[in-house]
Amino acid sequence: MGEVGLWLRWTWRDLSARWVQVAAIALIIALGSGVYAGMSSSAVWRRANYDASYAALQVHDVRVSLAEDTYVDAGTLRAAAGAVEHPELLAAVEERLIVGTQVDASTAEEQILVPGRIVGVDATGGGPMIDRLHVRAGRGLDGADGATAVLDDHFAEHYELPPTGTVAISGGTEVAYAGLGFTPEYFMIASDQGSFLAEAGFAVLFTSIEDAQELTGHAGEVNDLVVTLAEDADAAEAARELEVALTAALPDAALSVTSIDDDRLYRMMYDDIEGDQRLFNIFAVLIMAGAAFAAFNLTGRIVEAQRREIGIGMSLGVPRWRLAVRPLLVGVEIALVGVLLGIGVGLVVGRVLSAVSEEFIPLPIWDAPFLPMVFARGILLGLVLTVVATIYPVWRAVRVDPIDAIRTGPAAAHQSRLVQLVGRLPLPGTSVWQLPVRNVARSPRRTALTALGIAAAIATLVAVIGMVDSFLATVDRGEREILGDTPDRIDVRLDFFYLEGSEQVAAISAIDGVAAADTTLAVGGRLGSGDDAFDVYLGVMDLDSAVWHPTIDEGVVEADEPSIVISQKAAEDLGADAGEVVPFRYPVREGVGYRFVDGEVRVAGIHPNPYRFLAYLDRSHAGMLGLEGIINVVSVVPERGADTDALVRALFEQPGVASVEPVDAAAQRIRDLIGEMVDYLNVVRGAVLLLALLIAFNSSSISADERARDHATMFAFGLPTRAVLAVSVAESFLVGVLGTAIGVTSGLVLLRWLITVLLPGTMPELTIDVEVTTATLATAGILGIVAVSLAPLLTLRKLRHMDISSTLRVVE
């Protein structure tokens, strides 16, 4: 016990003698292990929160949707569902009426005119009981104050709308809303065009089914059914039975039956967890690696400082393993302090990520609980890495002969031939200005460790900010393509399919302020086969239109055969070039609706838009779909100088118009999406910045200690403090340049890997350009070179108060 006490007291003195560096390294370890624990736990609590939120709001298990503009009498769907082969599979069913509309939520300051949707639900008895409404402000659908709706909270929050108010829908009907909220299908907002986080451009109004029928002119009609299943019921089997029953009951209606697992948003939310976690794990490991390098660096230097004492121990016959106890104990103690602090850092990182996630997807249940096992893993990793980082220098120290360990001064230093060669390279300037280069070249191991620590932080930073740059560059590319030569174009989506020469289309073209107009038929489709197939949004249009047409980078549209223009990403995923034939599932008109047909289509060309889901077919081939002359979108080019707001409003007031949206609004929505993602990345960026600064400070502080005798000698020979400091700054500058060069290079490699290998699985819809802006490189440079170079300024006080005489007389 006495000996243990001695070890502990001794190591405590070792630590307190270098407490600033010990605190810094403990913080570095805390940051490494804490960020690791906080980030690697996010998947666990996100999944738990999603599960709990979906369960709390009784999300449906199966949904039946009628095709667009298909409605049946209320009660029909419910009755048909009751006729399934095994009714005991179904726990509850509710009919709904879901109708697209335009929502005008304009305020005195801003015109807010967006496409949207009225979702009529069974509000009786506090309902809906399936896909329940989560009210975040105001009240739900159970009030008696005349208000008929609850407005989607995402949309309201985006535009900072009050919890109660009035909006107008298509036809100018005013709808009072009494609260803000959402149902599980709207945990995240997707527009009809498929873009996510679309709350800026898409508004949902939840009403009772009766109010929805009245507001939309579909009295007594429904078009949607949601079903919850009995416990242990097989969802696939239930869906199959429902499809059979409903098809039998409604032979003329096109409908789709999907389980919740097939829901695009539901799936994406969960898939997103895995993708984000993979990304977080990479960043966490990188930060941990930076911390490990820094730990290795410091503990190595502490051991080096004990070299002479180890030598004395050797000469007294103390076994090597006992000599190793003290420095190892120092490493363990630093690691322990670090990982204990790391728990706090991990909790903070978890809270911040949780807050960002909640901002991103405001679920009814959001909690980032302390997960002991995940944190234990982070702690263990932090401990192991730090102890391993200590073992090597200790092993090196106790392996030397006692005479070498005891020897004082530079005689103890060994240099490789390469180092000696580098050290002898002729350099310009006085010997004072040669010192930094000689110092850096003379200690390659120390230089490399410090540079690698900085490099790990810089690499993470370049990768993180580079991802943001790359996303933004991708958005820019998409925006350039979508805007084309008519950036002020407005897309008018009609509420149904119309003939190209219909009066609705003519009326839109004739509005004052419209310079030109062209039409498009927008329908869904699916490219590819099996698990690799993906949805596309097919625009059937004049591919030579003067209003807008996609750029065709590769291939030529042939007039004699139906062929589509797809994105580069789609071509890559399909493994097809222009001219090749690919599997294509497309809609074919059937009565008043359409059915999907599995067939093939030739790829006419490749367009440069980064979004995979965008595909185009020349209108001369619309016969392939049985939809010749049918359109549902009108693209309008305003006259030069026309008031866009007034034109949007005039278009909105036209009969048959479902939505009016300037084309740049879509790009803005994607920018908003990127903005949300940047919030996540900012958590990483903050941690990395702090880590790099701590490494820089620690490195300078250690160097200042190690160079104390050199500095004292310079003072004794009359060099002023500023010159001594300048030498330190120059040395740090060189290490900073080296670390930054390695870091930027590694960061670019990492970024390329993240984008070309990791992200395609996480974000299959996008071709992301690898792009790093000058600003990002400047940030890396400022941090890695400027901050590291200036870190020695923190030692100014130490230099000014140096006891020169004592420092000069110290025997190592």
Partner: protein, 236 residues
């Protein structure tokens, strides 16, 4: 005219245990061309005296005029300039820059003193101390005696008129120590004021004057007993 002139110099330190007097009432004068050995046991104030002359420390009382400059009235910047132009140090533990070669270490002395053609001066001085064949060796490749000769060469390369040596033979064997003392004697003969601090009484025999300290006070100041001898005849 005296190069070094201390009058009534005292140095006291305010410590947790109270005021500690390192030096008290010191009057000392050293002329150019003199080799003065400051002798005394550990803790008697020898190094403090050297530090005051070298302006690494300032007196609590009295005046110190070195090279015509009143140190007690000088600013911090003046003292830096003074160290560059007036004094140069040789340390017991050499304090060479480990990352510089012997030539570069010596050149450092010439560089900081602002001497033109520093590389040529460094080469010439190293030749003079017998290290012409070791110019490009790093300190760790040199023996203790060679390192101390490099340290002396560095001090000489400054061209400053006062050389301050703190236990310059403390780390060296007898034979090497004698070589170093011979070098220092030669510097005094060449016209420099050389102050050597040591606890080794034998070394004092090579001095022009011996100043003995005890308990921070000057016990004696005069030529060595039996007169000055050549360094080569010393034995310890």
């Amino acid at each position: 005219m005296a190069l070094i002139e201390l009058t009534g110099v005292a140095r006291r330190y305010d410590t947790a245990a109270g005021i500690v007097t390192a030096l008290e009432g010191i009057d000392l004068r050293v002329d150019a061309g003199e080799l003065v050995v400051v002798l005394g046991p550990s803790g008697c104030g020898k190094t403090t005296l050297l530090n005051l002359i070298g302006a690494l420390d300032t007196p609590s009382e009295g005046t110190a005029t070195v090279g015509g400059r009143e140190l007690t009235a000088s600013t911090r910047q003046d003292l830096f300039a003074y160290r560059r132009s007036t004094v140069s140090f040789v340390f017991q533990t050499f304090n060479l820059f480990p990352s510089l070669t012997a030539l570069e270490n010596v050149r450092f002395g010439a560089d900081v003193a602002g001497r033109h053609d520093a590389p040529a001066i460094a080469r010439e001085v190293l030749e003079r101390v017998g290290l012409g064949q070791r110019l490009h060796h790093f300190p760790h490749q040199l023996s203790g005696g060679e390192q101390q000769r490099v340290a002396i060469a560095r001090a000489l390369a400054t061209g400053n008129p006062i050389l301050l040596a703190d236990e310059p033979t403390g780390e060296l064997d007898f034979h090497t120590g004698v070589q170093i003392l011979a070098l220092l004697q030669a510097q005094a003969i060449a016209g420099r004021a050389v102050v050597v601090v040591t606890h080794n009484r034998e070394i004092a025999r090579a001095a022009d004057r011996v100043v003995e300290l005890s308990g921070g006070q000057l016990l004696s100041d005069g030529p060595p007993e039996g007169g000055r001898v050549e360094a080569s005849s010393l034995r310890w």
